[in-house]
Structure formats: C-alpha cells, structure tokens
C-alpha cells in the first residue's frame, strides 16, 4: 500500500528504532515551546483570522470561517414564525445530542424536570462518540485534583477560567463514579484498580479508558440511559434560533425539521446549548477528526442572541491525524498510541521531539518538520511517522489489538498493519478551545436562563486542552447544566416571546456594511460536489 518513497523512509525508521528506544527524547523548555508555537502553530497565522465586526466580541479575532457565520443573517429573517403556538413546551430544552446534552438531560430528568433533547442528526452523532483515548480524573493515591489543575492550567497557557477549571478537576472523580455506576466498562486491573496512562502534558497517569472506544462506550451508555428514561429526543431537528421574551430571558428555540424543511417552536423555561464543536468549518483548510455536524451552530445561536464568546480564536489541531491513506485523511489517531510508547519520527528516522508534549506543541513540531523537508511526501501533502511497532516491542505482542483495536481495524481496512509498520500522521482540526462564556454554574452571564455545556463552552481549558479533559468536561458540565437548569426552571415565569434580536442583529450587520449572502448557523457542511 505504501509508495516507493515511503518504503525507503520506513527502512530508516526501522534502522534507528533500537537506538531510539534506549533514550527518552528530551522535553522542550518553556522558551523553546513558546518559540515553536509562534513560528508554526496555525493560531498564529494572521491570514487565517478576521476581525469580528459586530456583537459582544466586536474588534476581536475569529477564524475566517467562523467570522463569516457571525457576519451572516438568520435564516428566519424573512420568515413569519408563530411563537404563540409551540409544538413543545418544556422546563429544560437541551440543544444537541452528544455527551454533554445526554448527561444534562439525564440529570434534569433525575431532578424531576420536564426535559427534551433536539438534535440535528441522531442522538450520539457527536464528537463524544469519536473520542478514543480516554478521560482524566485525579483518583489515584499519587495524584490530586490540585495536580490535575496545575497540568491543565499550564497546558492551557494559564488562560483557563479558575472557577471553571476548579469544577472540572474537583468533580472529575465523581464523573468517573457516575459513569461506572451507569455501566461504562472502564479498563481495570483484576483488583478493580482502573488502568490509567499518561496523556500529553499530564504529570500523573490519570487517563482512564475503555480500550480506544472510550467516547463511544460513554456515549452509548448515556444514550441508552436517556432512552430508558423515555426522555423525548427529537432527531433530525436543528435549533436555528433562540427565542427570548420581553424580559430578555431565553424562552425556547425555533427548530427546523432537517428532512421536511418545516419550522417548529419549542417553548422552554431554560435552554442548554450543547451543540459541540466546529471541525467541519475546516479552518485554514485543515481536515478534521470531527463528526459531520460539527459546524459551531450553538456559538452562532448564542452570539446572535447577545451572549459573548471567549477564546474563539484558539483552535486545537490534534497532532496525529491520518496523513495516509487518503480515504481516511484527517481521521483521528488517538494520543493513546503515544501513551503506549510510539514515538514521532521524521523522514530520516529521527525522534525529533518528545512524543507526549501538549497537543499544540506536538502539532507545531510536526508542521515544522514537514515545512523543513523532514516530512514524508503523501498524495495529499506530507506527514511524519508514528512508530507503532514500538508498542508491541514495549508492551508485548497483542498489545495493539487489546488496547487500540479501533486503530488497528481502521488501518487494516486499507492493508496497513500498524503492528508491523509505522503509520503516517499530520495535524487534524480537532477541538474548539473557545466558545460561549459561562459562569461556574453553567449559565451565560448575558442571557438569563441560558446555559452552555460541553465543547460549545469557552474558558474551561484556556488556550489549549489536554487529552482526556474534554470527555471529562462534557460529563462534569453536562451534569451540572442539567441540575442547574432543572432547579432554575422552577422559578422562571416566561413573558411574551419574540425574535426581535434577529432584526436587531440584521440592522447591526447593515450598519457595519456587511452583506454576507449566506445564512447561519450552517447546520451541515457543503460537501456535495455542486455545493462546494
């Protein structure tokens, strides 16, 4: 399956393997990391960003593609929606059917609220399902929530909101307990001790996993729980705009049936935006590891209604996306491959960096190698080697099949046996570090009764996220949002509903001289050949 030049390079990787395995590559100093990021991380490429012209974050930067959506009008601008005859009337409306949305719905239901989920694809069609490597929690004797805080705070360049990060680390062990009691099958030793490994930038082995189907195992369990509880899930139905009332509170959402094109109204006392990420916007032309619906819809909905964003200009490129073969270009190769011992190696067989630097540093170093002629040419660009046969040497024969079966299967589909040969990787657009700003209880500060959970939140991780802290945040902040929304709903009295903010936004756009012809949110990427 490999090309001639790849086979030539593999010989060098094999030749240097024994010597490389004798020494652990040096970790970079803080100064080296800072210089590398400035020179090679896509967040530092000015041409990938535009200034936001209107709204709460006016004057700040956003990726071009996100700015374009923020500068677009609502698809409801010229529609006449009757808000007085809602199809649904609930205490808690959850927008999004991923891990955060499902966790929120379970906790809201547990608290006795009348809760429903709307999702534009199916429940579980979400980045949660695709998270492979694991979930962090400081629950071993040599570890503590304070150590977890330090790792995440430093890894995120000291920009995380302390009140959010505190919640993340302090509630992590309980998140693991909750999932385990729901029936998630974590990897365990015979005595019940959870098997934990390192992730990039962790100082303790606190990565809990379910083979390399960690997110899938969590998602299918919480989805099953949602269904068992008979919580209404309206699939193939997008929220296309928030509804507010005459007191400025959120009052529900306008929904679009993705199959029939009908609009529906959901009235709600509280709304939780759990719409996930933005990989399908393909910032700076990158491929993505994200699911089909990752188009930043919640950010657009919230922003148009007046909720500010935070760190919308920081994006996570996962260092190891598939660079070859082209059929799976951009797919995630879990960080766990490196946790299990595989090194990153350039064209000449050199281990040019420590394999477990933080993701932004690791990605930048790969981009640097490829920019300086140290990458291996591929039909779609270039990449560096991830020396997977090392895993079998270190952990014994069968380790790959036992610990990372999804990776093995994905490559075997294309005739590549990662137990015997290394694989080619290049950074892939993976995670939106920023999002809507919330306080410690999950509420937006600008719009009463509007909450956000999961990847749509900004500020939990700062300007870079550590592996395993996202599966954690969707559970911690999802659960919290569900509890908080259910409690809040008891005290809410709704006024007269309106969509006035859509008209006001249109006016602002006009005054700023912006005349984007498209509408937002995007809902689905345009992949059909005639739409591109």
């Amino acid at each position: 399956m490999f090309t001639e030049n790849m086979l030539e390079s593999i010989k060098k990787v094999e030749a240097s393997r024994a010597a490389r395995m004798q020494t652990e590559p040096r970790r970079m100093t803080a100064e080296e990391k800072s210089e590398l990021l400035k020179a090679y991380h896509p967040d530092y490429r000015a041409e990938g960003f535009a200034e936001i012209k209107i709204g709460p974050n006016k004057g700040q930067k956003a990726p071009l593609e996100l700015a374009q959506l923020l500068h677009s009008n609502s698809r409801l601008l010229n529609e006449n929606i009757n808000l007085d005859n809602p199809a649904y009337d609930v205490d808690v409306l959850v927008i999004g059917g991923g891990g955060a949305g499902a966790s929120a719905a379970i906790e809201a239901h547990e608290a006795g609220a009348n809760v429903m989920i709307v999702t534009k694809l199916r429940i579980g069609d979400a980045n949660t399902m695709m998270a492979e490597g694991g979930i962090q929690a400081a629950d071993k004797p040599n570890d503590s929530p304070v150590q977890h805080y330090l790792d995440a705070f430093g890894g995120g360049h000291f920009a995380a909101r302390p009140e959010l990060l505190r919640r993340l680390v302090m509630e992590a062990p309980d998140a693991i307990r909750w999932l385990n009691e729901l029936g998630v099958m974590f990897d365990k030793e015979e005595d019940g001790t959870m098997v934990t490994t390192h992730g990039g930038g962790t100082s303790r082995k606190r990565m809990h996993a379910c083979k390399d189907y960690s997110g899938a195992e969590i998602m299918r369990t919480v989805r099953d729980e949602v269904i068992n509880r008979q919580i209404p899930v309206v699939e193939f139905t997008s929220a296309v705009e928030l509804i507010k009332d005459d007191k400025g509170q959120v009052a529900g959402a306008v929904l679009l049936n993705m199959e029939t094109g009908d609009y529906l109204v959901a009235k709600a006392k509280t709304v939780i935006i759990a719409t996930g990420g933005a990989g399908r916007l393909h910032y700076q032309g990158f491929p993505t590891s994200n699911h089909y619906g990752a188009t930043a819809d919640g950010l657009v909905l919230g922003y148009r209604a007046g909720a500010p964003l935070l760190y919308q200009d920081t994006i996570q490129y996962h260092p190891t996306g598939v660079a070859y073969p082209s059929q799976i270009f951009g797919a995630l190769v879990t960080e766990k491959v490196r946790s299990l011992g595989a090194m990153l190696v350039n064209k000449d067989g050199e281990a040019y960096a420590h394999p477990l630097e933080t993701r932004d540093v690791s990605a930048s170093a790969i981009i640097r190698e490829c920019a300086n002629g140290k990458g291996v040419d591929t039909p779609l660009g270039s990449g560096v080697w991830l020396d997977t046969p090392m895993i079998e040497i270190l952990g014994g024969e069968g380790t790959i099949e036992k610990r990372i079966p999804a990776m093995l299967r994905m490559y075997l589909n294309y005739g590549i046996d990662m137990r015997k040969v290394p694989i080619l990787v290049y950074p892939t657009l993976h995670y939106q570090n920023g999002g809507l700003e919330i306080g410690g209880e999950g509420f937006t500060k600008a719009i009463p009764n509007l909450l956000v959970a999961g990847e749509a939140v900004g500020g939990i991780h700062g300007r870079n996220r550590l592996m395993g802290n996202s599966l954690l945040d969707i559970i911690v902040f999802g659960r919290n949002a569900g509890k908080a929304a259910a409690a809040k709903a008891k005290t809410v009295t709704l006024g007269k509903p309106n969509l006035d903010h859509i008209q006001a936004y249109a006016k602002e756009l006009e005054q700023a001289g912006l005349n984007e012809t498209g509408v937002s949110p995007l809902l689905l990427p345009k992949y059909a050949r005639h739409e591109k």
Binding site: T29, S144, V146, F158, K211, N413, R529, H530
Partner: protein, 224 residues
C-alpha cells in the same frame, strides 16, 4: 485523468474516482447527506450500507465511510433500521441469565445461521456473543461485543429477528456496573473531595499569581 469506476446508487449509475469511499463518492455524485452520515470515521454506525458487485451473487454489508468504492458496486444505504430496544432501569436489574431471558427472549430463537457474523461491519463474532448472552455469560458477551458500533447490519440479516446490538449493550452495562470489580480508589477520592479535604488547597492554587503558577508548572515532577 484519474481512475474512474462505475457505481450504482439505488440503481442509478455514476462515474466516480476509484479512490473514494462510498460516502465521499455519494457526495461526489451530488448527494447532500442528512441521513446515513454521522461521524464519518467508523465509530457511530450511521452509514450502514448494503451492496452487491454486478455479476456476483453475494450480498455484502459495510459502513459507507470506511469502504472504498469498486467497479460495478450496486449500493443502497440503510438510513434507519428499527432495532428493538427494551426499556429497563439498570439499577433494578441483576447480572444474570434471567435478565436476558426476560428482556430479549428472542435470542433463544437463534437458528445458528451465522448471517449476523457475516454481516458485521466490525468483523465481530456476533453469533458467538449472542450465544454467550443465551448462557448468561455476560462478561464474555460484553467483551466479544465491545467494538460494536450499532450499525444494525446484523439485525437486518437475522431470520430470528434479534436486535443484536441491544443485547450486547445490555451485557456491557451489566458488566460495567455489577460484574467488573469495584474501583475503591475512585470512591476514596470522591469521599475525600466531598469531605472538603481539597478545598483549601485548590483555593490556594487558584489565588496564586501567574508567575508563580508558571514556575510550579515548569518544575513539576512527571511520573515515569
């Protein structure tokens, strides 16, 4: 000129580049997907697909996002399949054979045809995990079914009308909750946190100036 192949979506012929997957070939042909497309990387099971190569008798099942097109493929996606999930309260169940008998009695109608295993897009031994479920060997059932993505191809082909993914899911939840050994260290830490044992420490670290945090971070010891 790139290598083009002939494929047939729902019986209609399109010429598409031969290095595409079924999913990207549909988009190349002009389809805007809503159903039958989820994670696009082989984890969610949204894109269950059935196909036959022109001139061959064999009917195959696959995930559209993980399968390369071939010349003469007749392709139909399965946008939805009504698998039959039974509702239960996990906390009221016991991890035994009785549970399977009560919730999924149809597994005992298995005729051993192995069509489920043949249809599995993940190459799992589906009939074997159903056999484990019949015998109440929940751990084995959970392990054997672990990589299931619930695409439902097995259930489409099953003459006994079993909803295999739901059986595996139940077994895994029972094993995760009841059968697997309890993790004492998780409960210990939750208890310590609930008793407030970390409150002062975390408060302290939250108040530290950035320069001090940088120093702490850059000099922290890293477990080998």
């Amino acid at each position: 000129m790139e290598n083009l192949v002939n494929v047939y979506f729902f019986g209609k012929r399109y010429q598409v580049p031969g290095d595409l997957t079924i999913m990207t070939a549909m988009e190349y042909a002009g389809y805007t997907l809503t159903r039958g497309c989820g994670c696009r990387h082989g984890f969610c099971g949204a894109c269950a697909t059935i196909y036959r190569i022109k001139g061959c008798n064999e009917l195959k099942t696959c995930l559209a996002c993980q399968t390369q097109v071939q010349e003469g493929m007749y392709i139909a996606s399965i946008p939805f399949f009504p698998t039959d999930k039974r509702a239960y309260e996990i906390k009221d169940l016991k991890p035994n054979q009785q549970v399977m008998m009560e919730l999924y009695p149809e597994i005992y109608s298995c005729i051993g045809c192995n069509a489920c295993t043949k249809a599995c897009t993940q190459s799992l031994n589906v009939m074997q995990y159903i056999a484990y479920a019949q015998r109440g060997e929940l751990e084995k059932c959970a392990e054997e079914s672990f990589d299931c993505v619930s695409c439902g191809c097995c259930s489409v082909r099953c003459p006994a009308e079993i909803s295999h993914p739901m059986v595996g899911l139940l077994a895994r939840r029972l094993v995760g909750k009841y059968v697997a050994p309890e993790s004492a260290h998780v409960y210990d830490r939750v208890g310590e946190i609930n008793r407030g044992e970390y409150d002062a420490l975390i408060e302290q670290v939250m108040q530290k100036p950035i320069s001090e945090m940088q120093e702490l971070y850059n000099t922290r010891d890293i477990e080998k």
